[in-house]
């Protein structure tokens, strides 16, 4: 088993990976309170080196809080966080030297020109590559003498991408950075991210709501619910673990089977479909040639469908508890 389902209290690093050495991000029992509000409630996260990790969750579930904790911009109330083997609070400057960060809205100095901003930012990074800066600026058609305040939403995101990539980061954090962009700008930005990251071997943590786009980029997925990690595993394994099945039963009959959980059921005419969270992932290829009694067909779900199914299941659970 090369991944694990998190139940909010188990330790994935012990069960799935053996050591923290393979992990770029490792967090255990992270709790973050803002006064009486609990943003994160015992969250565990483990991001393997070289992965492109999609962090999913509803609005206000704590994704941005988690990323700010990883950046050392917030301090966990409880629990431990390790980024690239460093403590993001104690070694905040060292951590930030090694990671690139693009938040949803990056308010930059609007009075600066693009050139001035890049010049200012380049001065604070040890490994700033002026060649990459120039290459990416030209690629993204950024006018260096233009004021930052005059840039469009998409161009600002691209400028953020230049800043995030030109210092050769080991880890890139993208926090809902395509929100507010129109479809064309979003697609262009996504393509730019893929171009900038392709073959780089960098670890990327991507939080957002554009799940179909994230599915194309990511190879690992974590879903947060109620301040906890509901599940965390490789995308291909996830797609073999949560599947839709066409049942050979009457509507309403499906009960937990294969040791898994029925997340949702839907009936179309005579056919009943269920989204099922299996206890063990199907073998590769099994999803199309399923011989399990009672199941007529196994239909792979998209990441978005998996997300919706798990969230629906979470909502229907008593007390909205986050345990998986």
């Amino acid at each position: 088993m090369d991944g694990a389902i998190i139940d909010g209290s188990s330790n994935i690093s012990d069960t799935a990976f053996g050591s923290h050495g393979d992990m770029v991000i490792s967090g255990k029992g992270i709790v973050k309170r803002f006064g009486r509000t609990i943003a994160l409630n015992g969250l565990n996260i483990n991001v393997p080196r070289g992965s492109v990790y999609a962090l999913l969750g509803r609005n206000g579930v704590g994704k941005s809080t988690l990323i700010q904790l990883l950046m050392g911009m917030l301090e966990p109330t409880e629990g431990t966080v390790s980024v690239l083997g460093l403590d993001p609070i104690r070694d905040d400057v060292a951590v930030k030297q090694l990671l690139g960060y693009i938040p949803e809205r990056m308010p930059m100095y609007e009075w600066m020109t693009v050139d001035e901003l890049l010049s200012f930012v380049s001065g604070v990074y040890k490994n700033w590559s002026f060649i990459d800066e120039e290459r990416l600026s030209q690629k993204f058609h950024l006018k260096r003498d233009q004021k930052v305040g005059a840039l469009s939403r998409g161009s600002r995101a691209l400028l953020s991408l230049v800043i995030a990539m030109a210092h050769q980061p080991e880890l890139v954090l993208l926090d809902e950075c395509t929100s507010g962009m129109d479809a064309i700008a979003r697609r262009e930005f996504e393509r730019s991210v893929i171009d900038a990251l392709s073959g780089s071997g960098r670890t990327v943590l991507f939080a957002g709501h554009q799940i179909d786009e994230m599915e194309r980029i990511s190879d690992w997925v974590g879903i947060i619910s109620s301040g906890r990690m509901l599940l965390e595993m490789p995308l291909d394994q996830l797609k073999r673990t949560i599947v839709s099945v066409k049942l050979d039963t009457k509507p309403g009959l499906p009960a937990p089977f294969l040791g898994g959980k029925v997340l949702t059921t839907r009936t179309y005419g005579k056919d009943t479909y269920a989204s099922v969270w299996l206890s063990e992932p199907l073998e590769e290829g099994q999803e199309t040639v399923c011989k399990i009694p009672g199941i007529l067909e196994v239909i792979p779900l998209s990441l978005e469908e998996i997300f919706v199914a798990t969230m629906t299941w979470e909502d229907n659970k008593d007390g909205h508890a986050a345990s998986g």
Partner: protein, 298 residues
């Protein structure tokens, strides 16, 4: 104490230069504001003094020994200095809190400690420049008034004004020194207003609100201290400088601690830091007083 000192300041002067360049570039409009403010205030005040026969205080010029409409302009200059101190300190962090560019700055590999020190250093430099600019503006304005003096009925003592103008910097130094010896030093009070503003600016994300609060809090604290000094040590009112200096240091310390430890500066943690430090320090002072009482009296 280490946290109070800039970290690796000499080793990474490149970072500091970048930050200082950013701070100065961002606040250069402050210079123009200081010139405009000084010009307008002096213009109105001197014109009013000239028109209303009485002069600003109708006092005796310390330079010429004669009555003059602007024989004591240092009072007005100190008011302008106080406003400039409030402006510079309120503009230290509040604008970046309001525009949320502090979030961008915090995402860069720069320690909070370094950011705070660069902001403090640039604000103090800007204040110094603003004070110098306001003084020069004052001189220029007085020269201009001298030339216009014939047009104003009460500006008859042209030589007096010219003498004050030529000696204005020496005059200001002289009056400041006499203020200190007369227990009312103005320049330290200007710095204490700056200290008050340095705390308020890390708490309030609107510059104008921070500016008004700085003025209001400074006036309240100043009035309380003056009243308490007059009540408790009426014969030694110069002792007011002691609590002023201590409170200024406390405000600067609180500003630093809130900035460094206040997470994103948008959370309530910054208030708990202030409460903790204030209660802890007040507790220490009370314990020290009790101990001193028992040692000396008991």
């Amino acid at each position: 104490m280490d946290m109070l000192l800039p970290d690796n300041w000499a080793l990474s002067s490149k970072h500091s230069r970048g930050l200082l360049w950013k701070e100065f570039s961002e606040n250069k409009s402050m210079l123009w504001w200081s010139i405009a403010l000084t010009f307008v205030l002096f213009f109105v005040a001197v014109a009013y003094a000239a028109i209303s026969n009485g002069g600003l205080d109708a006092g005796t010029s310390p330079v010429t020994g004669q009555n003059s409409a602007i024989s004591a302009p240092d009072g007005l200059l100190v008011v302008i200095w106080a406003i400039l101190a409030a402006l510079n300190s309120a503009g230290m962090v509040s604008p970046e809190l309001g525009s949320k560019t502090l979030q961008f700055l915090s995402s860069l590999p720069l320690s909070r400690n370094r950011i705070w020190w660069s902001k403090m250093a640039s604000s103090l430099c800007m204040l110094g420049i603003c004070l110098a600019v306001s003084t020069i503006t004052y001189i220029v304005l007085v020269v201009w008034f001298c030339r216009m003096g014939k047009m104003l009925p009460t500006y008859h003592n042209y030589p007096d004004i010219r003498q004050i103008t030529s000696a204005s910097l020496a005059y200001l130094v002289h009056t400041e020194w006499s203020n200190i010896t007369n227990n009312s030093p103005s320049f330290p009070y200007v710095l204490s207003i700056f200290a008050v503003g340095s705390l308020i600016t890390v708490l309030v994300d609107r510059t104008i609100t921070a500016l008004l609060l700085t003025v209001v809090v400074s006036v309240i604290i100043g009035s309380l201290l003056v009243s308490l000094t007059a009540l408790l040590v009426p014969q030694h009112q110069h002792l007011i400088s002691v609590p002023v200096a201590l409170l200024s240091l406390l405000f600067l310390y609180l500003s630093h601690q809130v900035f460094v430890g206040g997470e994103t500066l948008f959370t309530s943690k910054r208030y708990s830091i202030i409460l903790w430090i204030v209660f802890r320090d007040v507790g220490i002072v009370i314990l020290a007083l009790v101990a001193a009482y028992f040692i000396l009296v008991g």
